[in-house]
C-alpha cells in the first residue's frame, strides 16, 4: 500500500489494467475462503458456512460504498484515528485519494480496497462456525466492517493514519487484514461460546477436497492481494508476487515437516493450512523483502501456527476453524519479520532496513507498535460489538437447531443428497 511512485499523477493504462485484474483476483478469494471453511465443518453446516462468506460479499460491498471507504481513506477526521465522511456514498471519490498519488483512477482503488474489506470480514466466520444465527451474522458483520475494519485501515494505510505516520510498514494487510481478523475472531469466539459438545465430541472436517480446492483459490487470489498492493504494474508487483508464492510454499513445508514429527503423518489439511499460514505471514511483508526471507517467513509461520492451535484447548475458546492460530499468529509473525528483513533495495519506501540487514531496531519497534495497537483495538471493539448484539438480538441458534445443523435450520436446504432415501420428499405445493 506504499507509494513507490509518489510523483505519478497521470492515470497509467498498465497499472489500471493490473489493479482491475487484481480486484477480480481478490474477489475470488472470498468464495475460495467459503470452500476452505466449508470443507472443515460437519456436513450439516456446509451450506451455512459457504453462505456466510457469500453474504459478506453483499453486505460489506454496501457498507464500504456507503461509509466504509470514506472512514478509511477520506481526509483524517482527527488524530489519525478515522477518516471523515466526505466520501460517504462515494460522492466525491472520483477525486484523488487524500495523500496518495495514484497512477490508477481512484475508483479502481476503491474497488480493489473493497475486496479487502470483504475478505477480512468473511474470515471471522471461521471463529463462530456452526452456531451463529444467520441474521445475527449479517448484522454483526455490517457493524464490524464499519466500526472495526474501516478505522484500522485508516490507521495503517491512509497516509494520514497514525500508525502509517508512526512508520508502520504493512504492505497488504498484516495488521489491517490478518491481525485484525484474528484478534476479532478471538473476541467473537469468547463472546459466542463454544459449539455444543466441544471439545469432547468429534468435529472432524467433512470434505477435505473442498478445503484443498478453497486453499488453492486463496493462493491464486493472494497473488493479486499482495502484488496488487503495489498499486502499479512494475518491479514492486513482480517482487511481491514472487515473495507471496514462496512464503506459501515455505508455510506448507514448515507445517508438514513439524506435523510429521509430532503426529507421524503429513496431512492434506496440514498442507492447506500451512500454505495459508505462509500466505498470511507474507501479506505485510510481500513488498519489502527479497525471496529467501520470504521463504523463511512462510516456514516460520507454518511452524508457529501449528503450535498455536494448542492454545484454544488450553484456554478453552472454540475458535472453530483456527482463525487465531492461522491469521492472528501468522499476521504477527509477518508484521514483525518486516522489522527483521525489510530491504530498501526491494522497496525505496523502506527508510530503516530490517534488524538483520543492519538497520537496527527502529523498524522492528514500529512493527511491534502496529501489532499491539491493531490487536488491542480489534479485540476490544469486536468484543463490545459482539457483547451488545448477544445482549440484544442474540448471537446463537437454538440448541436443537445447532444439533440439527445450520443448513436446515437457517437456510432450509441441505448440501448433499447422496443416498436413495435422502431424495424422498413430496412437493408441498
Amino acid at each position: 500500500m506504499h507509494l513507490l511512485l509518489a510523483e505519478a499523477t497521470q492515470v497509467n493504462a498498465g497499472d489500471t489494467a493490473w489493479i482491475v485484474v487484481c480486484t477480480a483476483l481478490v474477489l475470488l478469494m472470498t468464495p475460495g475462503l467459503a470452500f476452505f471453511y466449508a470443507g472443515m465443518v460437519r456436513s450439516k453446516h456446509a451450506l451455512a458456512m459457504i453462505m456466510q462468506s457469500f453474504v459478506t460479499i453483499a453486505v460489506v460491498s454496501v457498507t464500504w460504498v456507503l461509509v466504509g471507504y470514506s472512514l478509511a481513506f477520506d481526509h483524517d477526521a482527527g488524530g489519525g484515528l478515522v477518516g471523515g465522511l466526505g466520501m460517504a456514498g462515494l460522492t466525491h471519490a472520483e477525486v484523488a485519494v487524500p495523500g496518495m498519488h495514484l497512477s490508477v483512477p481512484p475508483l479502481a482503488f476503491v474497488a480493489f480496497q473493497m475486496m479487502f474489506a470483504i475478505l477480512t470480514a468473511a474470515l471471522l466466520s471461521g471463529a463462530s462456525a456452526d452456531r451463529m444465527r444467520f441474521g445475527a451474522f449479517v448484522t454483526f458483520i455490517a457493524i464490524w466492517s464499519v466500526v472495526v475494519y474501516a478505522p484500522l485501515a485508516h490507521w495503517a494505510w491512509s497516509p494520514q493514519g497514525w500508525l502509517h505516520q508512526a512508520g508502520l510498514l504493512d504492505f497488504a494487510g498484516g495488521t489491517v487484514v490478518e491481525i485484525c481478523s484474528g484478534a476479532s475472531a478471538l473476541a467473537l469466539a469468547f463472546v459466542i461460546g463454544p459449539r455444543r459438545g466441544w471439545p469432547r465430541e468429534m468435529m472432524a472436517p467433512h470434505n477435505l477436497p473442498l478445503t484443498l480446492l478453497g486453499a488453492g483459490l486463496l493462493w491464486f487470489g493472494w497473488i493479486g492481494f499482495n502484488a496488487g498492493s503495489a498499486l502499479s504494474a512494475g518491479y514492486l508487483a513482480a517482487s511481491a508476487a514472487l515473495a507471496t508464492h514462496l512464503s506459501g510454499v515455505g508455510g506448507m513445508i514448515g507445517w508438514l515437516v513439524l506435523e510429521k514429527r509430532l503426529a507421524g503423518k503429513a496431512t492434506t489439511l496440514g498442507a492447506a493450512s500451512g500454505a495459508v499460514a505462509g500466505l498470511v505471514a507474507i501479506t505485510p511483508a510481500a513488498g519489502f523483502v527479497s525471496p529467501l526471507p520470504a521463504l523463511l517467513i512462510g516456514a516460520t509461520a507454518g511452524v508457529v501456527s501449528l503450535f498455536a492451535i494448542r492454545l484454544k484447548f488450553r484456554f478453552k475458546y472454540d475458535d472453530s476453524l483456527d482463525v487465531v492460530a492461522v491469521h492472528y499468529v501468522g499476521g504477527v509473525v509477518g508484521t514483525l519479520f518486516v522489522g527483521l528483513f525489510a530491504a530498501a533495495a526491494v522497496n525505496p519506501a523502506v527508510r530503516h532496513q530490517g534488524l538483520l540487514l543492519g538497520g537496527g531496531l527502529t523498524q522492528l519497534a514500529r512493527q511491534g507498535l502496529g501489532v499491539l495497537a491493531a490487536t488491542a483495538f480489534a479485540f476490544t471493539a469486536t468484543y463490545v460489538i459482539a457483547w451488545v448484539l448477544r445482549a440484544t438480538i442474540g448471537l446463537r441458534v437454538e440448541p436443537d437447531d445447532e444439533v440439527e445443523g445450520l443448513d436446515s435450520s437457517q437456510h432450509a436446504e441441505s448440501a448433499y443428497e447422496f443416498t436413495a432415501t435422502s431424495g424422498l420428499g413430496r412437493a408441498s405445493r
Partner: protein, 112 residues
C-alpha cells in the same frame, strides 16, 4: 427358509459375490454398515486434534436360501470372506416365516 446375514470386509464383497454366483445362489442384497467387534477403530488427526474412530466400515450382505441350501451358502460366504486376520466379520442365520415375490405373487421357496 433362512435369512443369512453376513458382515464382511468391504474389499471381500466381490469375492463373496462371485463365489455365491458359482454355487447358483440367485439373489443378494448388500448395504453399507459400520461397527466393531474385536477389531477396534483407528485414530485420525486434524490440525493436531485427535479423534478415535470406533466404527470400522463393513458391508452387510443378505441372502435368502432354502433350508437345504443354507449350509452351503454359509460355507461359501465364510470361505470367500476369510483372510485369517482380525476383523473378517460374522455370519448369522435366522428362520424366515414367509417370502413373496412382488412381481408374480409367488410365495415360499418358489419366491427365493
Amino acid at each position: 427358509m433362512k435369512l443369512i446375514t453376513a458382515i464382511v470386509k468391504p474389499f471381500k464383497v466381490s469375492d463373496v459375490r462371485d463365489a455365491l454366483r458359482d454355487i447358483g445362489a440367485l439373489g443378494l442384497t448388500v448395504s453399507d454398515a459400520q461397527g466393531y467387534g474385536r477389531q477396534r477403530g483407528h485414530t485420525e488427526v486434524y490440525r493436531g486434534a485427535e479423534y478415535k474412530i470406533d466404527f470400522v466400515p463393513k458391508i452387510r450382505m443378505e441372502v435368502l436360501a432354502d433350508d437345504d441350501d443354507a449350509p452351503r451358502v454359509i460355507e461359501t460366504i465364510v470361505s470367500a470372506a476369510r483372510t485369517g486376520k482380525i476383523g473378517d466379520g460374522k455370519v448369522w442365520v435366522q428362520d424366515v416365516e414367509e417370502v413373496v415375490r412382488v412381481r408374480t405373487g409367488e410365495r415360499g421357496a418358489e419366491a427365493i
